[in-house]
């Protein structure tokens, strides 16, 4: 059900919730007499609730479905059925057009036409009331049509179901065609993606090849510390290609970039760049890219430099990090994140501008990051380096969090990630287990974020909106309860002493009540007849002299809303129709 808004009027209806409405709707039009009867019984309860304000459509539908149910039983002769159908049809046509009547009576035919009821249905009514009774065939046909009409005009449109447009226009064949078309499109798109992936990989590999050559030449010339030369003609061409591709399919490019063998170097690649690939040589808690490796990729990244690209790659890196990759991958992903954050850092930026050492930077101008998202992305992807990255983010925000919030966040973060500190602490070492802590962390983060929004930017104050604090829940002293129960002694009544916060339970709801629309169905009941009714005295001597109170217990052993055939026959035998 839609969220209630203040502006909308609240209507009181007979169904507890939308589920109950849909349950009845489904059963009414199921074409299965047992289910239809189930729905009719529920509608009888609805009519009890609605009283005189039962919607005309609900009333008419119930009457017509009742005819169908009785018809399907095959116990009534066709003359009986014509009378039943006839009454239901006459009532439908009269009641549904009644609303449109103004001061002067207007012909039913026109009124019915306004609401898409064809003339033959109106004529059927006319025959039923003024002429020879129509045949059962016509009655059935009329009933079928009118039920379809009600389904379409009332039941499907009511309660916020907006599926009517499709329901009306598109036939099944069209649907099927569309489905096939869609499938084909999907296939085509996937094909294109695969192609694009291939192309990017090729491009990047040729880039890498080019850069290796440059590196090797550089190493020959005199150590790796030398300055990388400007791009060669070949490299420039590759870079333009990459740039061009990036505008077309940035997503794919980034995806490929963070695969192993590109931004995440393989051990082989590292060795060829003279970098020790072993994990002992690096600090997992403060990842930092090897300078050579950074230089290796700089030309490419510089070409791609744009705020959209940087944001995208940050997103993807964090997303990748949250998949709990191998420690090698983790280290390099974290390193890249750190590197990007560093490039954007306020202090760093200034320093570098002054020193004009812009060569090592991926980008020059400070970018606007979605800080809140970054923080959540960061804590969503816990790794040994999380506190390190988080500190970077926190220190760099445009509107920094309050100091204590920062401290709390960092502390929680390090508590969570301390499992990575070898095995010295008995803390949660299994990264899969302590999800609980992560949730806490997120909650913390959310509240911090909210706090941040409240304090830093001058949004409307929200703390006032808190629900009224005065205690609405009635509290009875022990003496009062005792007093009341004493007054009730000897009877079946008592004061409910369950510890229930009743104010949380609206009228019609009790603790532990399921949402299931069948939750109030009675499986077993007894009938009680009061015999000494004064009413009966001067009427038919039906219950003469019998003053005993017979209790007929009827238990049907069903446990669900659906009745078995035996249940149904039991009920059929035991219940009078109404």
């Amino acid at each position: 059900m839609k969220k209630k808004t203040v502006g909308k009027t609240r209507h009181v209806v007979a169904w507890m919730n939308k589920a109950e409405y849909e349950h009845v709707l489904e059963y009414l039009f199921s074409k299965e007499p047992a289910l239809q009867k189930h729905a009719l019984h529920r509608i009888s309860a609805w009519k009890g609730r609605f009283g005189q304000s039962t919607p005309v459509a609900v009333d008419s539908t119930a009457d017509l479905v009742r005819c169908q149910v009785l018809d399907s039983k095959g116990q009534l002769e066709s003359n009986d059925l014509v009378l039943l159908y006839g009454m239901a049809l006459v009532r439908f046509v009269n009641l549904i057009t009644e609303r449109q009547q103004k001061r002067v009576a207007r012909p039913l035919r026109r009124l019915a036409g306004n609401i898409n009821i064809p003339e033959w249905v109106v004529n059927l009514r006319h025959d039923l009331t003024h002429r020879r009774l129509p045949s059962l065939k016509w009655c059935r046909k009329g009933c079928g049509f009118v039920l379809d009409w009600l389904h379409q005009e009332y039941w499907s449109r009511q309660m916020g179901s907006q599926l009517t447009e499709d329901w009306n226009t598109s036939s099944e064949e069209e649907d099927e065609e569309e489905f096939v078309k869609k499938q084909e499109e999907d296939l085509l798109r996937r094909q294109k993606e695969i192609e694009a992936h291939k192309k990017v990989r090729e491009l990047l590999i040729s880039y890498e090849r080019e850069q290796f050559q440059t590196y090797e030449e550089l190493a020959k010339q005199g150590g790796q510390r030398g300055v990388w030369p400007d791009a060669s003609a070949d490299l420039s061409w590759i870079l333009t290609q990459i740039k061009h591709f990036a505008t077309e399919a940035r997503d794919i490019l980034v995806d490929v970039l963070i695969q192993d063998g590109f931004l995440i170097p393989t051990a082989e690649q590292l060795e060829s760049l003279d970098i020790d690939p072993s994990e002992d040589s690096v600090d997992m808690f403060a990842p930092c890219l090897p300078r050579v490796f950074l230089h290796f990729w700089l030309p490419c990244l510089k070409v791609l430099n744009s705020s959209i690209f940087i944001n995208l790659i940050l997103d993807k890196l964090f997303a990748e990090l949250s998949n709990e990759p191998s420690s090698h991958r983790t280290y390099y992903i974290a390193s890249w994140i750190s590197e990007i954050l560093l490039c954007n850092s306020k202090s760093e930026l200034k320093a570098h501008k002054r020193l004009k050492i812009s060569k090592e930077r991926i980008f020059m101008n400070r970018l606007q990051f979605p800080w809140q998202n970054l923080i959540s992305a960061c804590v969503n992807a816990p790794c040994p380096a999380t506190p390190f990255l988080l500190r970077q983010i926190l220190s760099d925000m445009d509107q920094p969090l309050p100091h204590d919030a920062q401290q709390n966040l960092l502390q929680l973060c390090s508590i969570y990630t301390q499992g990575y500190h070898g095995n010295s602490s008995p803390g949660p070492s299994d990264p899969a287990q302590p999800v609980y802590t992560l949730q806490n962390l997120q909650e913390r983060l959310k509240s911090n974020a909210a706090q941040n929004r409240d304090t830093s930017s001058n949004h409307t104050p929200r703390s006032v909106q808190a629900p009224p604090t005065e205690e609405l829940q009635e509290k009875l002293s022990a003496e009062t309860v005792q007093e009341r129960n004493f007054a009730l002694r000897g009877s079946a009544w008592s004061v409910c002493t369950d510890k229930v916060p009743w104010k949380q339970y609206p009228l019609g709801k009790v603790p532990g009540q399921p949402e299931d629309p069948s939750c109030l169905m009675v499986e077993c009941y007894s009938t009680f007849t009061v015999f000494d009714q004064q009413v009966e005295l001067d009427q038919l001597p039906r219950h003469h002299g019998n003053r005993s109170v017979p209790l007929q217990s009827r238990a049907s052993g069903s446990d669900g809303p659906l009745w078995t055939h035996s249940d149904l026959s039991k009920l059929k035998a035991g219940l009078k129709l109404f």
Binding site: M1, A45, M159, K503, L507, M521, L551
Partner: protein, 709 residues
Amino acid sequence: MTMKVHKVSPQSQNSTKRHGKNKWRKRIHRRDTSLLNTSRGTAKLAQQITKREKPALKQLKKLYTKPIPEDSCPEERREKATSVTFAHVHTNGGTELDDSSSSVDSQEWSEYANSVLKNGMESSTSPKTDQMEEDGLQFHAHFDHTHNRAVLVMKQGQVLCFRGKCLLTCLYGHVEVLGFTIEEGQQPYPLFSPPSHCPLTITALGNNPPSGKNKKEGLLEAKAIVRKYFSSEPSKKLMSEVDSDSCVVLLEPLDTPLTRFLTSFSELSEIFGLNSKELKSQAAVYSPVLSAVGVTALRGPCAQGLVLSRSYREAISSLLSAWAGEFVRCPIILACGGKSSGKSTFNRHLINSLLNHTASVEYLECDLGQTEFTPPGCLSLNTVTEPLLGPPFTHLRDPEHMVYYGQADCQADIDRYLESLKSLWRHVSGESPVIINTMGWIRGHGFQILVDLIRLFSVTHVVQLSFGNAPQCQLLTPDFFRTAHGWQTHPPTPPTLTEEPASHPSIRSHVFLSVQSEFEGAGTSGEMQHQRSNELRDLALLSYFSKLQSPEPGPIRPLHCFIPYQVPHSAVAIGLTHCEVAPNNILYAANASIVGLCCLSEKVMGRGGPVVLSQTPICQCVGLGVLRGVDMARGLYFLVTPVSPSVLRHVNCLLLGEITLPKILLTKQHGVEGDLPYVTTDYSFEVQGAGKLHIYKGLARPGFIKSNN
């Protein structure tokens, strides 16, 4: 119990003797004897109810009444009054009752009745003079800040017509409100004048100077009283207004659980304000003193108050003299008339007038839609001891006996309606006047029912209210009853030639009083806010459930916040009064609905699961409750009700009716998170067939229109 039955039966035996073929008399007789067996349980219950009620009443009296002067001591009076028990509590007009012989006594009564007649004439004519217009609107009032109350000095004959609510105590002299006279020394009375009804008027009747006191003494006394009620010296202007024949009343703000509960809903925040017509015509008189106690005085055409036509005043006065005079049977008064003809206002006026002379009036409620003392859908017999100074929803009371019919009109089951009323009639004591309030349904079967009621209850006075030029239905004169057929009763067989024709009318001939209603809008139902009948029904229900609120000021609790009572499904029978529901779906109808709490004489014992009634019983109902939830796992009903636990213990039957919870109680449930059951914002009335059955009355046929032209 036996006493009462004996009282009835000789009469019915008589009549059966005289008219052997008269079926309905016989029927009564048979029923009465059969009831002897069944009524014991309910009678016991009734005793308990009265036991519970009475002390509170007395206590109230003690709190407020100052010692009554000896000459009007109730005991003494009872000895003196020989014909009837002129019981006690209200001492209005008591000072005049010095003579000991009953004949003089009755003479005094008729004199008083005449004075009422005269009085009414005066008050309806005199305000029209210019002097009253200018002078009458200047209310000499003073506000006492320390006690938060106001003292109002009124000249003799001055009228205050107002909207709002307050607690009125008469300090000096006596005033009249809706037929009831309030004297100095009487308890404070709550006055309610909401925009739903005709505004109340306080009329200063002045002071009957008691013998032995001259004017000067009276003046000094009055001034002393005024001074007593101020912590500081009141203004000289106010004191100068005090006269020996002026009236001094104390007005205090009125804050009850009812007013707090009603005004807690934003829709009803102006329920004690002005109505739109009064606002438009700027009828409010600015008076900071009066508004401080919750009263807004009216002026101009809106300040007419109750318009009493001549026939109206004559009817009241002849009914008063009927009670005062000698009679074989206590007067049984039935008021009838079409919708909005002023029946219930007439009844209130009559009750108040009678309460000036008697301690209690019995009131049989036959109007299901606009009940006086109970929530709608209930038929009841009430003993009225307190005046009715406001519309029905401001004075809901627990009746002596009640039957839950479950619908706002009786068309669906006229037999059950009549049988229910008959079962209530058994409890009429016959010691005080009885007033029977009827429905506004006076056509077709409705008229037949009226005929039945008059016959069944041997009504002595029929007051028929009508408006406009032509009466709304056949006049219910004694002559008409020779041939009138009711729903259950029929006229006596035409006298054969051998019988004396004169013997018939003497058996049950009634006095017929025709009243012409002359107030503005007579016969048209109110269209303004809070005047529509369904709104008034909702107000009555809200008023009923406001009894759950704690008497001390505090937060207003929504219904769902109360700790409910619980009872096993198998211990109480449950049934619907107005339609058939599949028994296995009965809880869908019952959940979060209003139930009548009834007492069956048989013990209810189910074998697990709910006990479903196969037909609607006619049984004592002790009140209403809200079935706030059903615990399916443990098989419990949870019920919230203002009915006290000592009465609730007798309840073994829950009747569901067409009387539904006011929507406001379902749609506004503070403190609940998530969706409210049975409440949706998604229901669209734009969709075909989404509305309820719509009945056009007087749909003109095109041909008919043409012929008119």
